[in-house]
């Protein structure tokens, strides 16, 4: 028996039993045994007893687990999919059990923020890249793992669960990681593309959250398809400007993880970001919205961080700026839209 055949039986780990985590676990389970980590003992019990989690039926190959150390021991390949605000602390817990042979492919679309003593999100006015990190950078900072990848694309959990056709991008500096990701995820309904611009793809996935909130707002205001077309195209331009300032290349934004994900989120009333924008436009305040939901909408945090980055790097980002004012200052969505429509910039495309 060779080592190779042995390792093919090694399970794959998924960290985070949220909505997207569960869907990814189900995709992986079609090829391999999957260990699914959940922090909450109750979630584990529920999966064991009912095979149900977050409205998904969990595949028989999935075993829920509560022990990060055991997971790192059993699996060489891990998919961390936890909200960005918990990502670093999760990595700190996981890190002592990781070795350079581990491969991590994350599916979190958000920024990590490190503030030094005395600084807070309320007081700090500008942020730069030494304070704002993508998840792959967090993995590299917190652990010895270097073979890192990310999963990004138009992947609405409900549609994936229903086996509708879809695609994703695995981005990594390592072809090895991309090939592996393809082997593990691909099936007849799910196409997997590779990209070497890791940070670019991550940024595309994160920045799209901003435009998703704006799309929700347009629908909340009752506007139609012309407005949406305007938003998608101008939103794309803004994403590219921001993305380049933060270290990505234009190309990543034109692919599945960029334009693909953007079109999907702007058209889907299923996404959390969209819902937030919709409710804001209907006149609710951020506080009211946050009180009534326990799900994490990455978009709010993304807008907050991105606005301050745009100020630091002097990037013109009108959509992000006005949404920031709606969320954290006293602008209404109607005023915001009026402002944007009068915005004096009218060059269509100037970055190619």
């Amino acid at each position: 028996m060779t080592l190779k055949s042995l390792s093919d039986d090694k399970p794959v780990g998924v960290i985070g039993a949220g909505n997207f985590g569960s869907v990814v676990a189900n995709l992986l389970a079609q090829h391999r045994k999957v260990l699914l980590y959940a922090r909450d003992e109750k979630v584990i019990q529920r999966i064991l007893e009912t095979r149900e989690n977050r409205g998904h039926m969990m595949h028989a190959n999935i075993e829920p687990i509560n022990d990060l150390a055991a997971m790192a021991r059993e699996c060489n390949v891990l998919f961390p999919i936890v909200p960005s605000e918990h990502f670093r602390s999760m990595m700190k817990q996981l890190s002592p059990h990781l070795h350079p042979y581990h491969i991590l492919i994350h599916g979190t679309k958000g920024f990590d923020l490190t503030l030094t003593n005395g600084q807070s999100m309320e007081t700090i006015t500008k942020l730069n890249r030494s304070q704002v990190k993508t998840m792959s950078e967090v993995i590299m900072e917190e652990s010895v793992v270097v073979r890192v990848g990310c999963l990004a694309g138009p992947n609405l959990s409900k549609e994936l669960a229903a086996n509708q056709p879809a695609a994703t991008v695995i981005a990594s500096h390592f072809n090895e990681v991309i090939t592996l990701g393809k082997q593990l995820l691909r099936n007849d309904h799910f196409q997997v593309y590779g990209n070497n611009d890791l940070v670019g793809v991550e940024l595309a996935g994160v920045l799209k959250n901003i435009i998703a909130i704006a799309a929700g707002a347009l629908s909340g205001l009752g506007y139609g398809e012309n407005a949406k077309g305007l938003l998608v195209s101008r939103g794309m331009v803004e994403m590219i400007y921001l993305g380049r300032a933060l270290g990505g290349n234009t190309k990543a934004f034109l692919g599945v993880a960029g334009i693909g994900d953007l079109v999907t989120t702007c058209n889907s009333s299923l996404s959390r970001n969209f819902t937030i924008g919709h409710r804001l436009a209907k006149g609710e305040t951020l506080k009211q919205i946050l009180e009534s939901t326990d799900e994490v909408a990455e978009g709010i945090n993304t807008i907050r961080i991105t606005k301050k980055c745009a100020d630091y790097y002097k990037v013109r980002a009108p959509i992000t700026n006005t949404l920031y004012q709606v969320l954290f200052e006293d602008l209404t969505m109607k005023q915001a839209l009026r402002y944007l429509m009068r915005y004096p910039l009218n060059v269509d495309i100037d970055f190619l």
Partner: protein
């Protein structure tokens, strides 16, 4: 006035290996023939891997022959062997009609030709370490340097033959010396210094010897071997030859394999990873990945080889080194090069070359004036850029031990993945660059050059670099008071950076700011005919050569000090 380096440890180091026969480089030269054969065989395998079909192989050979004949026609050097044209002519003859032969016959023939070419290259590259001439060289260098030093410093007849001063008084070695010495006994060291001046190779050679380390092998440009006396020294020091004219695939692969295999066999090596001397005076930002990748590859091969044998793997340690000068002999030429490439027609270099007389003047100044060189030895890294402890264990930022082997494992096995290793090499090079900035030692001369140039820049915010370099003479004055205050501010920030572990500074940077400025002005570009910085009669700061000032200023670029001007 001379500010002495206080923390200077003028220590003598015992050799870590007793006799020259124990040195890896000696072992290598003793088994020269077998080693060359091994290099050749490996190169053939590699070329065949890269050109898998017979047609591709033949095409490659034809390109090689063509390029070699072009080179011989256009650019022949004294060092080139006489039988070269004959050799390539015979290869060309043998290639005739090769592509019309049946594939099997053609493949066999092509491989035979490849073998001849590659063996020739391997022979040409291989160094010729010679224990007795190594010793002779070492003594000559030591003798003449100390004669020069003593003769110049103590102006008394007879001082010439005394040994009051040694090179150690001039050249300060600081940093992780002890670790370097320990690791050289435990594994294979690859030293990667910054490259500013042609003096660097001589300097590093002396440093290696005076630290008690065995000779390192290093690639020296074949052009240096044109000069007979140089060739003698180089050969005796374990240098192998790098011919930058040859860009064909078989040559490049042979060269890389020579370095990889020598490292694998435990020969300590020296690369200047920046490739050539820094033209602009900026610390290296982009490294050449070709030679660095041989470090990663050698380590992977050692791990693979260890599977068959049951012995501990010899680990490879990468040690970044920065060389800090108050002056760089060829600075005016280097910056001219840089500016004319960058500025195209906006920059017109002035013709001003130095001759032997200037060289003598410089040497005399170097040995008489208080102008020191410091060599900072950085913390050792493994081939992945992790720090290692004194036992050679790789550590992660939290201080946990990492097994470097794990980086080469996928699916529980050590695998060869070229793309992965290219990425590792890129990561290693980034780490080396950041280490350069961290271990760089700021001299007073760097400080004054930086402050002066930035002040002028600030006074003329609308001028670009080339406009600034053509600033009229009446604008080239900085009031001393203003200069002094700015120096103080920038120095404070340098202290802060030092506390954060982001840079070092020479001890002479501390103390009374007027003395520090004086020290800096006295030393910056000390030997140049036109001084980059000096005080005028009114005691204000002026420049006689804006270009070299820009060059010395560049040394402190990359630390975000501009904000403090």
């Amino acid at each position: 006035m001379e500010v002495v380096e206080k923390k200077n440890k003028n220590k003598k180091y015992k050799p870590i290996l007793d006799g020259i026969p124990d040195w890896p480089v000696y072992q290598l030269s003793k088994n020269r023939k077998e080693f060359i054969e091994e290099v050749a065989n490996n190169s053939i395998a590699r070329v065949k891997e890269l050109r898998p079909t017979t047609k591709q192989l033949i095409d490659e050979l034809q390109t090689t022959v063509y390029r070699e004949q072009q080179r011989m026609k256009r650019n022949r050097w004294r060092v080139d062997p006489v039988d070269e044209p004959r050799f390539w002519a015979s290869i060309k003859e043998d290639m005739v009609g090769l592509d019309t032969k049946p594939p099997e016959e053609a493949q066999a023939k092509a491989e035979e030709i490849l073998h001849r070419i590659v063996s020739r290259y391997a022979n040409e590259i291989a160094g010729n370490f010679n224990a007795s001439s190594y010793k002779v060289t070492r003594e000559i260098v030591k003798f003449w340097f100390s004669r020069l030093l003593n003769g110049a410093r103590v102006k008394k007849f007879g001082a010439f033959f005394r040994n009051r001063y040694t090179l150690r008084d001039k050249i300060h070695i600081v940093g992780k010396v002890k670790q370097l010495r320990t690791l050289a006994t435990k594994g294979t060291v690859i030293m990667v210094p910054t490259h500013f001046s042609n003096l660097d190779s001589i300097l590093i050679g002396w440093v290696i010897h005076s630290l008690g380390l065995p000779a390192f092998i290093y690639g020296a440009g074949l052009n240096l071997f044109n000069i007979k006396i140089f060739a003698y020294f180089m050969n005796s020091l374990g240098a192998y030859k790098v011919d930058r004219r040859k860009k064909n695939l078989p040559y490049l692969e042979t060269l890389k394999l020579y370095s990889t295999l020598a490292i694998q066999k435990g020969a300590h090596s020296l690369f200047f990873p920046g490739g050539t001397r820094s033209r602009s005076g900026v610390l290296e930002k982009q490294l050449k990945l070709g030679l660095l990748s041989s470090a990663v590859e050698a380590q992977r091969n050692l791990y693979i080889d260890s599977l068959a044998k049951d012995e501990e793997v010899r680990k490879i340690f990468v040690v970044p080194v920065t060389l800090n000068y108050h002056f760089v002999l060829e600075a005016p030429d280097l910056i001219d090069d840089y500016l004319s490439v960058k500025g195209q027609d906006r920059y017109l270099p002035e013709q001003d070359k130095y001759g032997s007389w200037q060289l003598l003047q410089f040497l005399f100044k170097f040995f008489t004036k208080g102008s020191n060189i410091s060599v900072s030895i950085g913390k050792a890294l493994d081939v992945m850029g992790n720090y290692v402890d004194d036992n050679g264990n790789s550590l992660d930022p939290q201080g946990r031990v990492i097994d470097t082997r794990d980086y080469f494992i996928s699916n529980e096995q050590i695998t060869i993945d070229k793309q992965r290793e290219d990425e590792y090499t890129r990561m290693l090079s980034q780490k080396i660059v950041s280490e350069y900035h961290r271990i760089n030692r700021v001299f007073a001369s760097h400080l004054v050059a930086f402050v002066a140039f930035e002040l002028w820049q600030k006074k003329h915010p609308k001028l670009d670099l080339f406009g600034l370099l053509r600033l009229p003479e009446e604008d080239q004055v900085i009031p001393y008071e203003e200069f002094r205050e700015t120096c103080k501010r920038v120095r404070k920030q340098i202290y802060k950076l030092k506390d954060e572990g982001k840079v070092y500074h020479a001890t002479h940077l501390k103390g009374n700011i007027d003395l520090v400025i004086r020290h800096g002005l006295d030393n910056v570009g000390i030997f140049h005919l036109k001084r980059p910085l000096l005080l005028n009669r009114e005691g204000n700061v002026i420049t006689k050569d804006f270009n070299t000032l820009y060059y010395y200023h560049n040394r402190l670029v990359g630390y975000d000090l501009e904000k403090f001007i």
